[in-house]
């Protein structure tokens, strides 16, 4: 049960943070559901986009931060393009994701987080993405060795699958860029 005003009060600070960072006023949402109607990933969400917006409106910010939806959002911005109130729904979800990162909420969508982390560490190491390296690393870490194995033969045929990682000269500079991240790492 949502208790008013307790719920609103409890979520007020976080909500204000999300509104400030995203530049969106959540109260403008009138729950028409068009964001959900256009979302290609919503079927995999625990909360569809319009419910994320509603949860924020009533102060249930933690539910949003911890949601799988916030992690799974593709940021394709279709919802933002369609919102009749011109709200940047994707931007709100994106902000929620960043706030969740900073708050250290790491339980949902571990594989996806792992992939993103692996991707970025891969770039940190080489300066560019080593696709084959990421591919094998991810499958090893997730104990799913045959994930996308069917794609390998055609890739190999294309000669597009490089086993030797790319290297750039100023890798150190790239690493310095990584040191400038504000949010929490890991």
């Amino acid at each position: 049960m949502i208790r008013f005003p307790e719920s609103i009060n409890a979520g007020a600070a976080l909500l204000a943070e999300i509104e400030k960072r995203s530049g969106q006023r959540l109260s403008a949402c009138y729950q028409c559901g068009r964001c959900t109607s256009t979302c290609v990933a919503a079927f995999a969400f625990d909360y569809p986009p319009h419910r994320l917006m509603r949860l924020l409106q009533v102060g249930m910010v933690r539910e949003v931060l911890a949601s799988r939806a916030a992690q799974l959002c593709l940021d394709c911005m279709t919802c933002s393009m369609r919102c009749p109130m011109k709200l940047d729904v994707a931007g709100v979800i994106e902000t929620a994701k960043a706030v969740a990162d900073e708050a250290g909420l790491k339980d949902s969508e571990r594989d996806l987080r792992l992939f993103r982390r692996g991707f970025l560490n891969n770039v940190r190491r080489h300066g560019r993405l080593h696709e084959a390296g990421l591919f094998f690393w991810f499958n090893l870490r997730t104990n799913n060795l045959f994930n996308d194995a069917g794609l390998l033969p055609p890739m190999l045929r294309k000669k597009n699958f490089h086993f030797v990682p790319p290297r750039i000269r100023h890798r150190r500079q790239v690493r310095r860029l990584f040191q400038q991240i504000n949010g929490r790492q890991g």
Binding site: Y30, R34, T36, S37
Partner: protein, 651 residues
Amino acid sequence: MLGVFICQCGTNISATVDTGAVAAAAAGMRGVAHAESIQYTCSDPGQAAIGAAVREKRLDRIVIAACSPRMHEATFRRALERAGLNPYMMEMVNIREQCSWIHADTGEATMKAVDLVRKAVARIRAHVPLQGGKTAAVRRALVIGGGIAGIRAALDISAAGIPVTLVEKSPSIGGNMARLDKTFPTLDCSSCILTPLMVEIKQHDHIELMTNAEVDDVRGLVGDFQIDIRRRSTCVDEEKCTGCMICQEKCPAPAPDDFNAGLCQSKAISVAFPQAVPLVASLRKQYCRRFNGGKCRLCQKLCPAGAVDYGQEDEVVSRSFGAVVAATGYGHYDWTGSYPTFGKGLYPDVITSAQYERLLSASGPTGGLIRRPSDGAEPRQVAFVSCVGSRDESAGRPQCCSVGCMYTAKQAILTKEHIPDSQSYIFYIDMRAGGKNYEEFVRRAQTRYGAIFIRGRVGRIFPRRGKLVVMGTDTLAGDQVEIEADLVVLAAGLTAAPGAGELARKLNIACDETGFMAEEHPKLRPVEAAAAGVFLAGACQGPKDIPATVAQAGAAAAKVIGLLSRGELETSPMVSAVNPSRCAGCFKCRDVCPFGAIDKDRLADGLVTARVIESLCRGCGICNAACPPGAISLNGYTDKQLLAELVEVLR
């Protein structure tokens, strides 16, 4: 002797402005003999207090700090008159709309209010008593637009014995209502209600009907508008045509059928629809072969009445009117531009409710059988999409169309009546059924007719194997929805009628930001437009349903009757006047006057000076600003008055 009254307006003003302090400050201003703060100055006790103060302290000029003068200036002028003062010896100070309502800080708002009162006190010392004149009013009204609003207004005005000219742009009166099948919430047949009224218009002695006609030019002002009406050439002599439709039958040139919302084709020469009033054919030159390089004269040859005249030209009729009723109705929002995800109009089976209305109608292109446009099949699964071009700021249309929910429910009911094994789905956001018996009607659609209401806005419509996939959301169930529909009906929003803005400009009245004509005040002057003598009826003022339209048309008619029944009108004394002893005779005033209201006057000593023709002067004051020696002044807004204000607010 000056009296100052500070209105508290309940708490509207006093919540932010310390009215007591303003009154105290006013009491100390030069010439002020009386200052008080009143709870509701516009109320009876408030006006009585003004009267009492005038009598007791022999006040001769009054300053009232209250709401906007646009709201109550007339009220207080009457109050002064009752108190025995010249009504123009009053100055209003706007401390509500332009002070208490826009400031949060009491100190600041109070200080501003004192400033504004001081400005008015200074100004009113320069006031002089003004006396309005009387002018004869033309006893004839113009009604623009022949939909249900215009028809009702014309009938009501003429019932009071005032002649009416009814101007309609299209070939027949009837408007949008004539295109409807049935009407909510009673489901009575639209034609059955409307057609008798249309006929009554045609037969009425006091009503002059002009179809294919538009207002060309408007001059003059309330009581005596001179209006040019252009009657478009239709190449058909209205007197001779009997409406036999032989021409239409034989005409070889196809043309869009406007009446049927483009669902089918008509002919270049045609009768608008079988119940049209007047029942005459008209020829649309842009589609006619003869007017596009061809030699065809079939209609002329075949017309048994000899009514076809290719040489007919536009005719401009000039008339004088005492008052005007605008009843131009509404237009349909063109959704194809702003909703690319609905197919941009490329899917034939995505239609608007206006088109669906024609499919439902027995007089429509399918004879009342619901057949979808692409293949003529009878649809089983029908999806209704609400709020297309309504409540959508991304499409620049934030407003509610106010009738979509109701007519969509109606169409779902009629769908079930036409095709008993059909299923209707209504995507809605909020069900707005505020009228009498409306909610019950919507419930009926749901319970008795089994329409499935889905709360959520549709995101996409795309084709799949001859059907249309409607992707939406059921926000109540919290999940996405996909429907394979045979037919999709979009409840497209209502817009101002095409050309309404241009007409408003000619009539010198305002439109709101959505393009509908603006009333002077939503509660105090709901049918009055910004220009005196112009009234609004029906959907030209904003989207509304038929009952509200008819009611407003009656109200507009009552206003016209009230205005013209006395035969004469009071004129404003706020016109320009020339002080001949200061006139240099340069006539710059005459050059700038938009109304030709300046004439030459030869004084006894031979000097030539300017003179104002008061009956033509409208009180804009442009001449005043153009006069180098300051000889011409606009009563009520003289240089002296404005300078007094200016100096005082900057003190």
